[in-house]
């Protein structure tokens, strides 16, 4: 146990602590770091130039998360409703892409969305003769790529609470006079929501911190927080600012996870209160 903890401390805790510190230092004149305390890096984040980028990346990540959660929940619901002996296979097939190479999965969409890509070919076959539609290097392409890459994760996150749900609860609701839709809205959804929310937080954070998908499918036109961090470290050479953005990213993740935990806890809190009354 000790060697593993040592490894995690030396190569995760300490480096992350370093980033935390780095965010409060000044950028040196020719790149590099000047060891003087400053809050400039954080001031820069709220600068309209960068704030705009953050808002755009939040919008793109938010849209991708919303779509992935809706489609992923529906797929997980369908898997949980399938005959029991088929569920493991269906789930495995749904999740398999998630564990395979991210770059390749993203690249596959370049092949599909290219000006002379497969979708254009398909349109031509159906008799379309105009200019090939520009699909690659658009916000839509970035969102599609993010949804594609994180959908399996959402399916997995949604399936667990759906599969755990006692089917008699839905039957009880029907027995008490509720329609199928009311049963979904009042019993199934509220009971599976906390798990789904946790999954959504991860998709959002992974999307907003992404830099591969915007770089490959957005053609560099769309900067996400991940691209900004990448640039500070590899091109702009402003490590302290890059560290500050990373801290914001981690703060967003922690904040959203805390919110989710509080929301999930509130139910439990009501329960405790009830015990006294």
């Amino acid at each position: 146990m000790a060697p593993a903890l040592l490894w995690l401390t030396a190569l995760m805790l300490v480096p992350c602590g370093l980033i935390l510190a780095l965010g409060f230092f000044r950028r040196g004149l020719y790149g590099g770091i000047e060891y003087a305390f400053t809050l400039e890096n954080f001031a820069l984040i709220v600068d309209p130039l960068y704030a705009g980028i953050f808002l755009t990346s939040a919008r793109i990540a938010g849209t991708a998360t919303l779509i992935a959660v809706i489609v992923g929940y529906a797929a997980a619901y369908a898997i949980a409703a399938a005959p029991r002996h088929r569920q493991p296979t269906l789930l495995f097939l749904a999740v398999l892409p998630f564990w395979s190479n991210y770059l390749i999965r993203t690249y596959a969409w370049i092949v599909l969305l290219n000006r002379e890509g497969l979708i254009t070919q398909g349109l031509r076959l159906m008799g379309y003769e105009g200019e090939p539609p520009s699909m690659l290097y658009t916000e839509g392409a970035v969102i599609t790529g993010l949804v594609y890459n994180y959908l399996p994760f959402v399916v997995l996150a949604c399936y667990a609470p759906l599969a755990r749900l006692n089917p008699e609860l839905a039957e009880a609701s029907r027995d008490l006079g509720a329609s199928a839709f009311t049963t979904f809205r009042r019993v199934i959804l509220p009971m599976t929501l906390p798990g789904i929310a946790a999954g959504a937080v991860f998709v959002f954070v992974l999307s907003i911190g992404n830099f591969i998908t915007p770089a490959l499918l957005g053609g560099g036109r769309f900067q996400m927080m991940g691209n900004l961090i990448y640039a500070q470290f590899l091109t702009a050479n402003d490590w302290p600012f890059g560290a500050a953005i990373s801290m914001v990213l981690i703060a967003i993740m922690m904040g959203l996870l805390t919110l989710q935990a509080i929301a999930a806890e509130r139910g439990a809190g009501e329960r405790r209160e009830g015990a006294n009354g």
């Binding site: 609860l169 009880a172 509720a178 009971m191 139910g267 009830g274």
Partner: protein, 327 residues
Amino acid sequence: MTALLSIGGVTKRFGRVTAIDRLSLDIHENEFFALLGASGSGKTTLLRMLAGFETPEAGAILLDGKDISRMPPNRRPVNLMFQSYALFPHMSVEGNIAYGLEMERLAKPEIARRVGEIMEVTELSSMARRKPDQLSGGQKQRVALARALVKRPHLLLLDEPLGALDKKLRAAMQLELKRLQHEVGITFIVVTHDQEEALVMADRVAILRDGRLLQCGTPHEVYEHPANRFAADFIGVMNFIEEDGRTLALRPERIRLFPERADRTTEGRVTARAYHGLDLQLHVETPLSPRPLLVRLTADAADRRPVAEGDTVTLGWNDADTRIFKD
């Protein structure tokens, strides 16, 4: 008496398995009815058809004269108390009970009044705001019952209602359920595998086996006049004596020790003796059957004439106390 519920020639198959086979049964208004059977007898399938979660392949289920066999569960004036209770864990006791009334779109004050009422009857008022996971097994059972009763169904179905409770609580709840049924005046159908429970609670009992009805009658009828060997064996404890190509069935409590007068007597040797508090049970080896006969003596009778293992005893009984089955 006209039937409230009339099940006519109902058949249900799951793949190649016939769960219910051309079953017919009438249940009367205000009756406490028990469906008794071992697991796999089809009793739960029958209950689920009455609730609307399964559709029969053939036959009709008439409630108040109307066929409800194809009606979805949420439209039926029938409610089910689930074996697992199926309480909504994210709703309070009050919320669980109100749910069914909200589905009827009743006015809020009306809902509050009826929920309050039923919580009084089931002694749940003090825990209205608790969540199901803060309740004991007995309390959960009462919430499940209240949630179904508050809708004033024409028919209340209870799937192994006492199955999850411990032995002492079960005994108390058996009487409690009976009292409640009288108080609310609703027809109850209870599914159980526990023959004692069925005898104690029900006005009438139906014994199911392999999807067919073996016998239906009052507890007294099915106990004293079992329709066939299986029913005799299933309900209570029975001694079987094979002779002349027929089977003689005899309850252990009908056998007397050293009787002064009896239609039949036999000699035997006591091989085992077990004290049960209220009674004493003896295993007696006799020439009549390969297995020892079981004899139940009241504590009183046992005190009058103490016996020990290895003793030779005389057993006797009256012909009127035996049932005879051919084949």
